[in-house]
């Protein structure tokens, strides 16, 4: 059913046009004898066609069309202007001012029917294109979302692949990623950055995939030479992920390279200091160390939460960015909830 808005100050014309519109079928005429009232109606209603007389009190048809076109979303709706057959200049002005076509008085039913049908066909085409564009946008969104989910899954699995060669667990990756998000939230970085931190943090140790087993899985303390090799996982992870087309992987590369830097410059691989260290690295450093300390491992017992917090506090400005420690502790309730949510399924024996 097409909604046809008809505006004419003459009752006889309104009646005639309404009757002609009804004869066309599948049309619902809406009548106004005052253009300002019609304009008000148009603010909350969307006609499929507007038929407007030229000469009316208060507001003529040209002014009505200009005001109608200025309303949001009313720029494409077809408008037919009715003029007397001696008003050629008005017709020109109407066509240039936003009317799609015109009708002359006295109205001829055949001409009226043809022009109204043409305008309604135009409207049907517009709606079809708009629906199709909306449908395509939905499809693209759905597909993009699928790809993004797949990308996240692959990242998680890749991170797990590195961790499988390490005594750490999948739950560690989840916890440290969510702790990182708590810190990003505390730093007020905004929802988009919080999401990026959550998705990139799991890749912090992906470079361990390139560390030989005899070092990675060595039960005892590493020799200085072995530790140098071990430190190479930061650069290896960066090499693996850098220059990606994916924003998450690029962020992962930054995390991998910088999460062992220390605020006082004593970290590795570059010995960066303070804010020279990328913010992602400063965030992940706090989250990773806290979870490592509070997790049980084959070679160590879990620290108490108090001891781990004290370690973070003592490390402010030395190992850790003070603001990141502050943000982490400010989100303590969330930290506890994350610990509960992502528990280690199997605790390796000491």
């Amino acid at each position: 059913m097409h909604t046809v808005l008809i505006i004419d100050d003459s009752d006889i014309n309104l009646t005639l046009i309404k009757a002609l519109v009804l004869k066309l079928g599948e049309c619902n005429p809406v009548l106004f004898d005052k253009p300002l009232a019609a304009l008000e109606w148009c603010r909350s209603n969307e006609p499929d066609l507007v038929i407007v007389d030229y000469m009316m009190p208060d507001m003529d048809g040209l002014k009505f069309i200009a005001a109608f076109r200025a309303l949001h979303g009313r720029n494409e709706i077809p408008v037919l202007m009715i003029t007397a057959n001696d008003q050629r200049d008005v017709r020109y002005e109407a066509l240039l001012g936003g009317a799609n076509d015109y009708l002359t008085k006295p109205i001829d039913r055949v001409e009226f029917g043809a022009r109204v049908r043409n305008m309604l066909s135009l409207r049907i085409g517009q709606k079809f294109l708009a629906d199709r564009a909306a449908h395509l946008a939905e499809l693209v969104d759905a597909r993009t979302s699928e790809i993004r989910e797949r990308e996240k899954e692959l990242i998680f699995r890749m991170s797990r692949a590195a961790e499988f060669r390490d005594p750490e667990t999948g739950a560690h990756i989840q916890r440290m990623a969510h702790y990182s998000q708590v810190i990003a939230h505390g730093l007020d970085l905004g929802p988009a950055m919080e999401k990026l931190v959550l998705e990139a943090a799991p890749m912090h140790d992906v470079g361990k995939i390139g560390i030989p087993d005899y070092i990675l899985l060595k039960p005892g303390k590493l020799t200085p030479e072995e530790f140098e090799v071990m430190k190479g996982h930061a650069r290896l992870g960066h090499e693996l992920l850098k220059d990606s087309g994916s924003e998450i992987l690029r962020a992962g590369a930054e995390v991998a390279l910088s999460h062992h830097e220390k605020y006082d410059g004593s970290g590795y691989p570059k010995g960066l200091k303070g804010t020279q260290i990328p913010q992602l690295g400063r965030i992940v450093a706090v989250a990773d160390v806290f979870d490592a300390l509070t997790s049980e491992r084959p070679y160590k017992r879990a620290w108490t939460l108090d001891d781990a917090c004290r370690f973070l506090e003592d490390g402010r400005g030395k190992h850790f960015d003070p603001l990141c420690v502050e943000a982490f502790l400010a989100g303590w309730e969330d930290v506890l909830e994350i610990r509960q949510r992502f528990r280690d399924e199997e605790i390796p024996q000491i």
Binding site: D11, T15, A84, P106
Partner: protein
């Protein structure tokens, strides 16, 4: 003075796609409104309001054209243009004639 109005129902119906029902409604509305149209026209002239007189004459032009009264519509058009130009002096006779024309057309339609 325009020639006497002759009802050409066939030409009107042709424009209305042969729809007798619409024709009957339009005649009925014309007859119901005719005195209001005459009064509005006279009031606009008496008030020396060119803009309103132009609009009333324009409305009457459309009404007369609807019933295929080309000479009557031409008279209304002259009044409309004169009013638009602000030339109201001397329009009194034309306004009176237009009122007469409206009533003449009404009488013919009523006899119909």
């Amino acid at each position: 003075m325009a020639a006497a109005f002759v009802l050409n129902k066939a030409s009107i119906l042709e424009r209305l796609g042969g729809d007798e029902e619409i024709y009957a409604v339009m005649v009925s509305m014309y007859l119901a409104d005719i005195e209001n149209n005459c009064a509005a026209l006279a009031a606009a002239y008496a008030a020396d309001d060119g803009k309103v007189l132009q609009r009333e004459a324009h409305t009457i032009k459309g009404l007369l054209a609807t019933f295929s009264d080309e000479p009557g519509a031409a008279e209304a058009h002259r009044v409309e243009k004169a009013a638009q130009a602000g030339e109201l002096a001397g329009l009194g006779d034309a306004v009176t004639e237009l009122q007469s024309r409206l009533r003449e057309v009404a009488a013919v339609l009523r006899a119909g």
